[in-house]
C-alpha cells in the first residue's frame, strides 16, 4: 500500500494542474469569441508567420 504515498500526491497535482490551466484560460479571455476562434483557424492569413 506504500505506493499510495506517491499516487495520491501525483493525482492531486495533476488535477490541480488542470484546475490552474482552466483558471488561466478564463482570466486571459479565451472564451470571449468561441465562434470566431473556431473559424479563424480555417483562415490562411497568418499561416506562414504569426501576426505581428
Amino acid at each position: 500500500m506504500s505506493v499510495l504515498a506517491y499516487l495520491i500526491p501525483i493525482s492531486l497535482l495533476l488535477g490541480g494542474g488542470a484546475l490552474a490551466a482552466f483558471v488561466y484560460t478564463v482570466r486571459s479571455n479565451q472564451y470571449d469569441d468561441p465562434e470566431g476562434d473556431s473559424r479563424r483557424i480555417l483562415s490562411e492569413e497568418w499561416d506562414d508567420h504569426p501576426k505581428p
Binding site: 500500500m1 499510495l4 495520491i8 493525482s11 492531486l12 488535477g15 490541480g16 488542470a18 484546475l19 482552466f22 483558471v23 478564463v26 479571455n29 472564451y31 470571449d32 469569441d33 468561441p34 465562434e35 470566431g36 473559424r39 479563424r40 480555417l42 483562415s43 492569413e45
Partner: protein, 734 residues
C-alpha cells in the same frame, strides 16, 4: 419607427453568454491612451464566416487612422482602436463597400456588459467545486469498496483537507445569501443548504478524528457543485438576455447637433443644457423637451401618444423628447434636458404601477417557503428522537446530518434554472428575449392579452388605400410631387404608384415646403400635394395627403391606413384559438382603432386612451382576477406594461418601454407571441414535474435517513440520480 430591427441577433444563447465578458480590459486601456486613441464599436449583423472576418479586418486596418480592428464573430461586432478624429460614420461606408451592413454601437452603454465579473466569479467557483468533488469522490469510492483502518482514516483526512477550503471558497454565494436572509429574520432556499453543508463538514470531521466509518465530505462537495451548476445556468440565461437588451440600447447612439455661433457641433445628449439650440434633421428624434425656434415641419408623435396623424410644427410649438421630425430641419431651444424631460416624468406613473408587480412570488420561492421549515423540523426531530432513544450524541448528530444532506434541495435548485434555460434558449431562437427571471412562469398563467395599436399591431408605416379612385393623369402629377419629398406619406404614395406602373409627369420648379407639402409647375399651372389646411381641404379623421391639380377643382385626398405588422393577424387568431381574451387599447382616434379592430377580429377595443387610462384599465382587469399580458411599444404604454402581470415590447419600441417590459421581441414578426404562451405553460408544467420528482426522491430516502440506514453511499446515489433525472426532464422541452 426607424429603429433597427434585426432578427439576425438571434444567435445561440450559449455563445452570447460565454462572451459577455468581451474586452474586459478595454476601459482601463482606453483611459491610459485616451489622448491619442479612440475606441469604436460597430455591430455587424450579417457576418458569418472566416472569410467575412478576414475581409472586415483587412478592410478596416487599411483605412487611414485605424490602429487595430478585431472582429468578434460570436457577438457579431467589430472593436476598433483608432485616431481620435476617426468617426464611425466614416467607417460604415467602407464596410458597406465590402458588402457588410454596419451600425454604430454606443460603447458607454456596452461598458455595463463588459464589466461582468459576477459570471466569471461563479464559473471559477464551479470549477473549484468540480475539481474538489471529483478528487474526494475517488477517495470515497475506495472507502466504500472496503478500505479500512489506517487507510480509511488517511483517505478521510485527505478528503477533509480538500473539502474544507473548497467548500469555504465555492460555497460563498450560499453563505452570503443565507446570512442576508437570516439577518432580516427570513428563510430562503440557501438556509437549509448552508446548514447541511456546515453540519456535514463538522460531523464528518468529528467522525474522522474518532476513526469513524462514515464521512460526508463527498456529499458536501457534490452538493456544492450541483447547486452552483444550477446557479450558473440561471445566471447565464439572464446574462444572455441582458447583453442582448443592452446591445439594443447601444444601437441608439445618444448624440445631438448643437448650434454654436452658427456652426454645427455634434455633442453627446448628456452634455446638453437648458437654453441650448439644437438642430434636428428630418428623420431625427427630439433629444430634449423644448420649443421650436426656427423651421417648419411635421412631427410624428405616435411613440408618445399613439396618434398616427402627423402634427404640424412651426416656431413656438412645444416638442417633447422622443418625437420624430418628419420633413424640414428644425432648431429647438431646450427647456428640459436629461432627467427633467417628459420621457423621464413618465417614470412616476411606472413607479406607481410597479407596486403591483412585486406581489408575485416565483414557484421556487413558494416551494422554498414550504420546504425550508419542513427540512429543519424533520432533522431536529430526528436528532432529538435518536438522542432520547440512545443518549448517544455522536450517533444522533450523524443521523441529523444525514437527514439534512438527503433532503437538501439539490434537485430543487436545478429544477427551475434547468427548465428556464431550455425554454429561454428555444424562444431566443424564435427572436424573443426573456429579460425577467420569472417572466416565463407569469406568461404561463395569462388569460387576457391587451395590445397597443400604433407600432405594435401596426408597423407605423402608412399604406395608400384609394389609389384606384384617381385618374392616371392625377396620379402622374401626384407621383412627380411625392418623389420630391422624403415624408413618410410621400414615400408610401411613391411606392404604391410605382407598383401600379405610373410614370411621373413632367413637373418643373419642384420645391418642398417643410411642414406643408410639395409644389411645382405643370403645364403652366401650380400643382400642390400636402396637408389639408395648406390646400384648404377638410381634414377628416383618417391620415391623408391632398392633391391640388391647379384646375380649380376642390383638392382630393389620398387616404392612408397603417400597415399591419407581419404575423399580427396570425398572433391574434392563435390567441383567440387558445381561448384567451384579446383587447385593443390605443391612444389613437376612434375611427382608426375601430377599423383595425374589425380587420383583426378583435371585439373589445378602447380608443383615445391616455397613459393613465391604459394602466387603470389593466389594473381593473387584474382586480377582477384576470392575468393580463400587455404588448406595447410607446412611451404611453410604459405604465400599462409595468402594471400588467407580464409584458412584451417589440425591439422598435423606445428604450423606456423596453426597460419596462419582461420580454422583448427582436424580429418584426408578432407571431412568436402565441407560441411563447404555449412554451411558457409547457415550461411551468415541467418545473412542477421536477418539483414532484425531487419530492418523490425525498419521500423514499428520508425514512431511510431517519431510521439510521443512510450511509454516505446512499446519500450520494440519491442526490446524483435525482439531479440527473431533473436535468433530463428539463431537456425534454427542446
Amino acid at each position: 419607427m426607424t429603429a433597427q430591427m434585426r432578427p439576425a441577433m438571434a444567435v445561440c444563447p450559449g455563445c452570447v453568454a460565454a462572451s459577455t465578458e468581451a474586452v474586459e480590459t478595454a476601459p482601463t486601456e482606453a483611459v491610459e491612451t485616451a489622448p491619442t486613441e479612440a475606441r469604436l464599436a460597430l455591430s455587424l449583423p450579417t457576418i458569418h464566416c472566416q472569410a467575412c472576418i478576414s475581409k472586415v479586418e483587412r478592410g478596416l486596418n487599411d483605412h487611414p487612422g485605424i490602429h487595430s480592428a478585431r472582429v468578434n464573430l460570436t457577438l457579431k461586432r467589430a472593436l476598433i482602436e483608432a485616431d481620435p478624429e476617426v468617426r464611425a460614420d466614416d467607417l460604415i461606408p467602407v464596410l458597406a463597400d465590402l458588402g457588410f451592413e454596419a451600425h454604430e454601437l454606443d460603447l458607454a452603454t456596452l461598458a455595463a456588459t463588459q464589466s461582468d465579473r459576477a459570471g466569471r466569479d461563479l464559473l471559477m467557483r464551479l470549477a473549484v467545486a468540480g475539481f474538489a468533488s471529483m478528487n474526494v469522490m475517488l477517495l470515497s469510492v475506495s472507502v466504500w469498496s472496503g478500505a479500512s483502518d489506517a487507510t480509511r482514516d488517511m483517505f478521510h483526512w485527505i478528503s477533509a483537507a480538500i473539502a474544507f477550503p473548497a467548500v469555504i471558497f465555492a460555497g460563498k454565494p450560499f453563505f452570503t445569501n443565507a446570512w442576508s436572509a437570516l439577518r432580516v429574520g427570513r428563510l430562503n432556499m440557501d438556509v437549509p443548504i448552508v446548514l447541511a453543508l456546515v453540519l456535514a463538514l463538522v460531523t464528518s470531521l468529528w467522525e474522522t478524528s474518532l476513526s469513524g466509518d462514515h464521512a460526508y465530505f463527498d456529499a458536501a462537495l457534490t452538493l456544492t457543485f450541483l447547486l452552483l451548476a444550477g446557479r450558473y445556468l440561471d445566471y447565464r440565461t439572464r446574462a444572455v438576455a441582458r447583453s442582448a437588451a443592452e446591445e439594443l440600447a447601444a444601437l441608439e447612439v445618444p448624440r445631438a447637433i448643437r448650434m454654436e455661433d452658427d456652426t454645427e457641433v455634434e455633442v453627446p445628449v448628456a452634455d446638453l443644457a437648458y437654453g441650448d439650440l439644437i438642430l434636428v434633421r428630418p428623420g431625427g428624434r427630439m433629444p430634449v423637451d423644448g420649443v421650436i425656434a426656427t423651421g417648419e415641419s411635421e412631427l410624428d408623435r405616435s411613440l408618445l401618444t399613439g396618434e398616427t396623424l402627423p402634427v404640424f410644427a412651426a416656431p413656438g410649438t412645444q416638442v417633447s423628447a422622443g418625437e420624430v421630425n418628419l420633413t424640414g430641419p428644425l432648431v429647438v431651444r431646450a427647456e428640459a434636458v436629461g432627467e427633467d424631460t417628459s420621457l423621464h416624468r413618465m417614470a412616476d406613473l411606472v413607479a406607481i404601477a410597479e407596486s403591483g408587480r412585486s406581489r408575485y412570488t416565483s414557484l421556487a420561492d413558494s416551494a422554498a417557503k414550504l420546504y425550508a421549515p419542513g427540512v429543519h423540523i424533520l432533522s431536529a426531530l430526528a436528532f432529538v428522537g435518536w438522542y432520547l432513544y440512545t443518549f448517544d450524541l455522536r450517533m444522533a448528530l450523524n443521523i441529523a446530518a444525514a437527514v439534512l444532506i438527503i433532503t437538501c434541495p439539490c434537485a430543487l435548485g436545478l429544477a427551475v434554472p434547468a427548465v428556464t434555460t431550455a425554454a429561454s434558449g428555444r424562444l431566443f431562437k424564435k427572436g424573443m428575449l426573456i429579460k425577467h427571471s420569472t417572466a416565463l412562469e407569469r406568461l404561463a398563467g395569462v388569460d387576457t392579452v391587451v395590445f397597443d395599436k400604433t407600432g405594435t399591431l401596426t408597423t407605423g408605416t402608412p399604406q395608400l388605400e384609394n389609389l384606384e379612385v384617381f385618374t392616371r393623369a392625377e396620379l402622374e402629377i401626384a407621383l412627380a410631387l411625392a418623389e420630391g419629398s422624403s415624408h413618410p406619406l410621400s414615400r408610401a404614395l411613391t411606392a404604391a404608384a410605382r407598383t401600379a406602373g405610373i410614370a411621373p409627369a413632367d413637373v418643373t420648379d419642384l420645391q418642398e415646403r417643410p411642414g406643408f407639402g410639395t409644389q411645382g409647375q405643370y403645364m403652366g399651372r401650380t400643382v400642390r400635394l400636402g396637408r389639408a389646411a395648406w390646400l384648404g381641404a377638410d381634414q377628416g379623421s383618417q391620415t391623408a395627403a391632398w392633391l391640388d391639380t391647379g384646375e380649380g377643382a376642390a383638392p382630393r385626398g389620398f387616404l392612408f391606413h397603417d400597415a399591419l405588422r407581419p404575423g399580427a393577424a396570425e398572433a391574434v387568431a392563435q390567441l383567440h384559438a387558445a381561448g384567451k381574451e384579446v383587447l385593443l387599447i390605443s391612444g389613437d382616434t376612434t375611427a382608426a382603432v375601430e377599423d383595425l379592430a374589425q380587420r383583426l377580429g378583435i371585439q373589445k377595443w378602447l380608443a383615445e386612451a391616455l397613459p393613465e387610462d391604459k394602466a387603470e384599465r389593466i389594473q381593473s382587469l387584474s382586480d377582477r382576477g384576470h392575468k393580463v399580458l400587455m404588448v406595447g411599444d410607446g412611451l404611453n404604454d410604459t405604465a400599462a406594461l409595468t402594471a400588467a402581470h407580464v409584458s412584451i415590447s417589440p425591439a422598435s419600441a423606445l428604450d423606456a418601454a423596453r426597460v419596462a417590459s419582461d420580454i422583448v421581441l427582436l424580429g418584426q414578426d408578432l407571431e412568436p407571441i402565441a407560441e411563447a404562451c404555449v412554451v411558457a405553460s409547457k415550461a411551468t408544467k415541467r418545473i412542477r414535474e421536477n418539483f414532484r420528482i425531487a419530492t418523490l426522491y425525498n419521500v423514499i430516502a428520508v425514512p431511510l435517513a431517519i431510521a439510521g440506514f443512510a450511509t454516505p453511499l446512499i446519500a450520494a446515489l440519491a442526490m446524483s440520480s435525482s439531479s440527473i433525472t431533473v436535468s433530463l426532464n428539463a431537456l425534454r422541452l427542446k
